[in-house]
């Protein structure tokens, strides 16, 4: 007699307890579902339609993709899009090395100058706390052809923002100035984690500063390097603010990036949501290809060791 109620109570308690873990994950899963998974499915579906958001959706099959790859239509859509992708790739190809090498040099300097380590870390990180629009307003002034400080001091009259290739150079410099901080701090942490006994052993073997850096410090920082490489590349792929605020995509669409083309297709006047979704998917696949490729590279690199 006593057993029965006890048993039901324990069953009851068990089922209530079984729900608890789900309560823990529920808020996150809800957000993940609504803003992560559902949009992904929606994006794929919308990419097969013609839709301006105001009128009813119209099935378009592979039409948007054909347009993007220049198989139908005048080819204007394709040339605009791939023009943007090309510019994004140019930015990634130039800016990523800059944001790996410059912060590394600064990090090495700071690591050697121990007395001012903390002070200079804060100092070099400062530009990164500014929002991209503030940075663009500031550099827009510095780079001004007539009133700008840079031309004033160099005694030249270069139209830094409105002429090629200067517009790109301006974007590269501005982005490097803005982005030194994050990677620099990671490198300083990485340098501090290099086992001193290996460095001492290398020194005893007669290795110079350069040899020590390339044969000891750098290999020891492989994980940090890989992390910054991935993060910097993804960030560069998403570049938009610089091109929109500083150069407005110009001159003559010369600095229009893929993100900008997608943004303008969806929100710049005509809401061409179907086409923009297809563009986002093509561009997104390109981006993930890169990420998967670098992960593969890293895995094979680790297996080698």
């Amino acid at each position: 007699m006593m057993k029965e109620p006890g048993k039901t109570a324990s069953i009851h308690r068990f089922s209530a307890r079984a729900v608890i873990p789900y309560l823990f994950v529920a808020p996150f899963m809800l957000m993940f579902l609504v803003f992560g998974l559902v949009p992904l499915v929606m994006s794929v579906v919308i990419s097969f339609t013609k839709w301006d958001y105001a009128s009813p959706m119209e099935w378009y099959g592979l039409g948007n993709y054909k347009l993007i790859f220049g198989l139908i239509g005048s080819g204007k859509v394709a040339s605009d899009f791939w023009n943007g992708v090309l510019h994004t790739l140019l930015f990634v190809a130039v800016e990523t090395p800059l944001l790996i090498v410059i912060p590394m040099i600064v990090a090495l300097l700071i690591s050697k100058c121990k007395a001012v380590r903390k002070l200079s870390m804060g100092f070099f990180y400062f530009p990164s706390i500014l929002s991209i629009t503030t940075v663009c307003i500031l550099w827009n002034f510095l780079l001004d052809t007539n009133a700008g400080v840079i031309n004033h001091y160099l005694g030249i009259e270069i139209p830094w923002i409105t002429q090629m290739p200067y517009a790109w150079i301006s974007i590269f410099v501005l982005s490097a100035w803005w982005g030194i901080g994050g990677n620099m701090i990671l490198y300083i942490a990485g340098i501090a984690n290099v086992p001193p006994e290996i460095l001492e052993a290398a020194e005893l073997d007669g290795a110079g500063a350069f040899r020590k850096f390339f044969s000891v410090t750098l290999p020891c920082m492989r994980r940090t390097l890989f992390y910054t490489l991935i993060m910097t590349t993804i960030g560069s792929f998403n570049m938009l603010g610089q091109a929109q605020v500083l150069t407005a995509g110009g001159p003559n669409f010369g600095t229009t990036t893929a993100m900008m083309v997608i943004y303008n297709t969806a929100f710049g006047g005509t809401n061409n949501f179907g086409r923009a979704c297809a563009m986002a998917i093509v561009f997104g696949v390109l981006m993930s290809l890169f990420t998967v490729l670098s992960f593969k590279l890293q895995v094979s690199d680790e297996e080698e060791m």
Binding site: F24, S131, T133, G284
Partner: protein, 290 residues
């Protein structure tokens, strides 16, 4: 040890070559620092100049005549409510960070320390979505926010980022390192799962929480394209989005533009200076654990 004594000590214990390379290193560092500093210095100096002096052919870094006119003008212009934008950015970023840390840590706790059916599958689904670039979700997210009636509402900028899986991933990694013995002991004392989460595991996660807070704050603060999409009126804009058209409205009035730039930078600079220690530590941890 005083500075002078330390210097003397240094000179006594190092060879000439070592001292020379030390001096060179510091000199190089100072040059780099100047390159970073000079643009900001020019901005601050210019913001205190009269517009006519800014355009003067013999312009100098330090203003010959100091004026607060630019600041007064910007602060009184209702079309560019920089302080309101700052407050919006701050409000949105803080709300986002608090919610993000809360729901990510709750989920990470369950994924790392509780047993339940479907745990691995759910976690696997979340993780595989990390490979998918955010740009693909941009347009559908706008449609979702619009259908929720949240356009021009601060929550349109708070909510979408909460679906990000990076926080769950990082916290789960960290929580797996916390010994389960703590949970067992607390359970014997009669603590509920939530108490174990809140009183035992969460306090041990503070370093990672700080890191995540910094990352998500910066991500939210610097987000440029999303606030532009989901806001229509000047009053609801964030600083980053609001300032996008700022240069255009003060074409060639660089004194005023720089005053705006300085005003937009000051509050975040203050926050940075107050929390610099945690900031730098947090970012360093992020790179090692991430």
């Amino acid at each position: 040890m005083g500075a002078a004594e330390r210097l003397r000590h240094y000179f006594k214990n190092h060879s000439k070559k070592q001292i020379l390379s030390g001096v060179l290193l510091y000199a190089a560092l100072i040059v780099c620092a100047l390159v970073v500093l000079v643009p900001s210095l020019w901005a601050v100096a210019t913001s205190f100049k009269f517009e006519t002096d800014v355009l003067d052919a013999n312009v100098t870094l330090f203003p010959r005549r100091v004026t607060l006119e630019n600041y007064a003008h910007i602060l009184n212009n209702r079309n560019v409510p920089i302080l309101l934008w700052f407050w919006n950015s701050f409000k949105i970023a803080v709300t986002h960070v608090v919610l993000y840390l809360l729901i990510s840590s709750l989920a990470a706790f369950a994924f790392s320390r509780l047993r339940f059916r479907g745990r691995e599958v759910l976690f696997w689904i979340c993780m595989s979505s990390m490979m998918i670039p955010g740009v693909i979700n941009l347009i559908p997210n706008y449609i979702i926010i619009d259908s929720l009636g949240l356009v021009d509402n601060m929550f349109s900028m708070v909510l979408p980022g909460l679906g990000g899986v990076f926080g769950v991933f990082m916290l789960r990694q960290f929580m797996r390192g916390v010994p389960m013995a703590y949970d067992e002991a607390a359970k014997i004392d009669g603590a509920s799962e939530f108490r174990i989460y809140f009183n035992v595991v969460l306090p041990l996660c503070v370093p990672v929480l700080v890191t995540l807070a910094i990352f998500s704050f910066q991500g939210c603060w610097n987000d440029y394209v999303w606030p532009l999409i989901v806001t229509n009126s000047a009053e609801t804009r964030t600083l980053t989005a609001g300032l996008a058209t700022f240069s255009g409205s003060y074409s060639h009035q660089y004194g005023k533009q720089m005053a705006g730039a300085v005003l937009s930078a000051l509050p975040i600079l203050l926050i940075f200076l107050l929390g610099q220690k945690y900031f730098i530590k947090g970012i360093s941890i992020g790179g090692i654990k991430g």
